[in-house]
Amino acid sequence: MNEFIEKKPGENEATGTFIGGIKDAVPTMIGYISIGIAAGVVGAASNLSVLEVGLLSLMVYAGAAQFIICALLAAGSPPYAIIFTTFIVNLRLFLLNMALAPSFSIYTLFRNIRLGALVTDETFGVASGKLLAKEQISDRWMSGLNIAAYISWVLACMAGAAFEKWIANPQVLGLDFALTAMFVALLVLQIQNGQTGKLKLYLTLVIMVVLLMFVLCAFFPSYIAIILSTVVVATFGVLMDR
């Protein structure tokens, strides 16, 4: 019975196969290889061994958090402070996955946990872009997307840590901008594929987030400003969209 249900969504389409997921992961992989190398360099510069950097990317698998963990470890912060900060930084994944999870509720609990464990800002963006374009996505497509992104991140982090001495300054080439460019593309995708007739509303929300970020960043660390501005402005979105 389960087998039957699990074959349904997107069968025979690009969004139904594992390989299709890997293909759709390419832009994410470009970003992760670029930033992963930088994250590995930062890890090694914070006195972590290649193996420790590998474990960090394998077990935590979160770009922004990894940079912060390395900085806090290097600064000699107490473990509870590092773990709590990581929790706050990654809380935004809860919001993203709340929006993504309903699309996978037909699959088994174990499969859902496996899918959810590897969702990032970027793979969420790619998946929700497909959903907005009214394409169905299957568990295997999501796995392909997740695993391709995961492997490229872990390998890039370890490579960055291993070759730290030879990589003088990863910033020079503009590679550190890869994820920002990815966020720009994902934002445009969200707005273009969003409900028609809501362009004005979406642009209003964008402007509100920009303004709120400027204000909140003066008082809070940026990762808190990101969550606060998102929660507040999304609430305004619900109130304005009547």
Binding site: V60, T86, L95, G125, G174, T180, M182, V184, F214
Partner: protein, 107 residues
């Protein structure tokens, strides 16, 4: 090539607090019918988060003042145009990387 025990414990703790917010929605949503207002609220989350993450990349905090890193803004513009007119994620990422390199070369 070694793993320090206290570093490992920090990594383990961080892994746990990252795993939970990632996986909990996938467990909760199965047995819970979301009210319409909540799913509408969630539908606005991506636009808001991606905007916030972009803004975060060009804000520089110095003491209590927040400044704009205009080199990042300058690189965002070509990436934005590529995203709007070409609708291609990979292309946008590559245009962004090249723009940033070019901006830094001249800045």
């Amino acid at each position: 090539m070694s793993v320090n025990l206290s570093v490992f414990l920090v990594i383990f703790g961080c892994a746990l607090v990252t795993f939970l917010p990632r996986v909990l929605p996938f467990i909760l949503v199965r047995n819970y019918k979301m009210p319409a207002a909540l799913s509408k609220w969630l539908s606005f989350i991506p636009v808001c988060i991606f905007t916030a993450l972009i803004v975060n990349s060009f804000l520089v905090k110095e003491g209590n003042t927040v400044n704009v890193d205009w080199t990042v803004v300058a690189a965002i513009i070509p990436a934005l145009l590529a995203a709007i007119y070409k609708k291609n994620l990979s292309l946008t990422v590559i245009v962004g990387i090249i723009s940033m390199a070019v901006v830094r070369f001249f800045a």
